[in-house]
Each structure stands twice: as C-alpha cells, then as structure tokens.
C-alpha cells in the first residue's frame, strides 16, 4: 500500500485488528506497539514467531500479525529455544512479565542468556503480578503494598527487588541487555531504539538480547494511568536505572 505523504503516524501494520484486553492506560500496549513497529520496519515480521507468557500478556498472540505460541508460566525462553534451534532462520522472541521471567522463570532465562541463545526477550517490569490481581513480584519495591504484601514489602522477610538486567549482564552469553522505560515520549523513543537493536542482534546472529521495560499497572497500583506514569518516573526509575548493561563489541557496531 502507498502511504499518504501527509500521514505522520498510523496504527502499525504489524498489529492485527483486534483491540487489546489490557486495562486503559496500561503500557503493556505501548510495548506491544513498539515491537510491532520494529518488526515491520525491519521487514522480518513475516518470519517472526512470538512466544507469549502466562501473565496479562497471555493473549499477546491475538495482537501481532505473526505466528505465536503460548508458553507455560516462566518457560517462554525454553520454548523459544526449542523453536529457534530447529528454525534458525526465523526470528523468535518471548514477551514476559516480571513474575514470569524473574520469579518462576528465573532458571530458564538465566540458562538461555548463559547459552547466548539467539533469541530476543521483551521483559515487562511492572513491579507486580498484574494478571492474578497484583501480588508481590521479585521486582516489587521495598515497602510497596501489594495483595500479598499487604503491609508493604518487608525486605527482611520478603527479600529485595531483583535487578534483572544487571544480573543477566554478568553472563558471557548475554549479547545485548538493557533497561528502558515507557513513562514518557522520550523514553518510549529510547525503548523503541533498544528493541530495534535487540532484534538486529538476533538477525545478525549475535546472541541473546533482552530489553527490560519499566511499565505501569494502573489497575493494581490503584492509580490513574497518568499517576502510574509518574510512579514509574519517580519511584521505579531510581530503583531500576535506565541503561545499557551489556552490549557486546560486535553489537555496539550496529547502527539504526
């Protein structure tokens, strides 16, 4: 199709027509949009296979114009590995929440990163378990109230937040591991760029790539979507600093 030259922005073609089931203002939607835009812009959407998690993004398979599978809770990296190993020329990505990736799925993500598995992981850090009603996640901030830390997360008994990007960056197999945020236009642009580099990493066969995205959960945080963005900016960004934690030499070459 030809793009009318006065068109500045349109719903990405990488999407299906289906409206998402996400709550109003939930930035899962922004993350979806960025992935769809990148896959389309790179011209790889046609050979892409997505792996949905168990979490609010469980229905991600309804929204992208690609093949999709739906993994058991936390096992998306293993499923993605199975797919990528037998279809090395395909683009395989998993999309996972913080409960999925950093709690029940920690074993699979660390192993995949250590193997330098040539897959891309979009990691949505919203500091809680959204789908099941807002329980504490490994990423829940100290003192933060959730439905399973009703008096606020007590680090003495419930532990400290896990900074996933920092941790995975210690692995030699990890090629590209960065953290971005979705709380304002500038950060959204940075996030998109990172997602682009992550997929470029896979296309070039340069190993494991993961983009951690700070995201909102207005519903379970009990905030308006606008308040939720502020919370990300004021509370989450300081606890989970935005940055490039691992960029292998060859990946540093990539220009987008």
């Amino acid at each position: 199709m030809t793009i009318p030259e006065n068109l500045v922005y349109d719903r990405p073609e990488g999407f299906t027509e289906t409206p998402t089931h996400y709550c109003p203002g939930c930035t899962h939607g922004v993350a979806h949009r960025l992935v769809a835009e990148v896959l389309k812009e790179m011209g790889v959407i046609d050979r892409t296979i997505g792996v949905a998690p168990v979490g609010c993004a469980v229905f991600a398979y309804n929204y992208f114009d690609t093949d999709f599978v739906e993994a058991p809770h936390g096992r998306a990296p293993a499923m993605a590995t199975g797919l990528k190993r037998v279809l090395p020329d395909r683009i395989v990505f998993s999309y996972q929440g913080d409960g999925d990736l950093a709690s029940i799925g920690m074993g699979e993500i660390v192993a995949a990163a250590a193997r330098g598995e040539n897959i891309t992981v979009i990691f949505i850090n919203n500091a809680n378990y959204g789908m099941t009603g807002g329980q504490m996640a490994p990423t829940t901030l100290p003192g933060m109230k959730t439905t399973s830390s009703p008096n606020g997360r007590d680090v003495e008994t419930q532990g400290y937040p896990i900074r996933v990007a920092e941790m995975l960056s210690t692995l030699d197999g990890a090629g590209y591991v960065v953290r971005r945020s979705l709380h304002d236009p500038k950060n959204i642009r940075m996030a998109k760029k990172a997602i682009r580099i992550a997929f470029e990493t896979q296309v070039r066969g340069l190993g494991f790539s993961l983009v951690e995205l700070l995201s909102t959960c207005p519903t379970n945080w009990g905030m308006t979507p606008v308040e939720a963005l502020k919370f990300v900016e004021q509370r989450m960004v300081p606890a989970f600093p935005i940055g490039d934690y691992k960029v292998s030499a060859s990946i540093a070459q990539i220009k987008v």
Partner: protein, 82 residues
Amino acid sequence: MPAAKGWIEVSDLYCKGCELCISACPQEVMELDMTRLTPKGYHPAHTFKDGCTGCAICAIVCPDAAITVYREVTKAAATATA
C-alpha cells in the same frame, strides 16, 4: 521550527479513554469527549481546539494505537515518529 498545522483521528474501536495522550500533548489541545461513548463504554479522546502541530506525541504514548496523525507536509514529517 514554526508550529506546523496538523490533525489527528482517534479510533473509537481502540480508544479506552485513558487520558495519556491528553496529558502528553504539548499543545494541550486534547480532552476526553464527554458527549460520546465508545462501543466499549469509554469516553474517547479528541482535539477540542486548534493548535495541533501533528507532532505525534499523543500517538507515541497511546497504549492502544488508537491515534492516527496527519499534518501538512513538511520536511520534518518523515522523521517525526522516532
């Protein structure tokens, strides 16, 4: 650069009235249209006055890809979407 002239379309199918676009719009020309309900029962966003520059910031923050942005053609247009 001189404020370009632009305009947007908000899809009733996708808009959930979350107001993120409204708070992001640098020209403050957006609001929820309290006179209308989408099929899903949300008040959709719209521009309530002139001044839209077609900067597409609203579209960039929209979690539901509900906004289409146009503007009178300028050099900048091509690169506007990050």
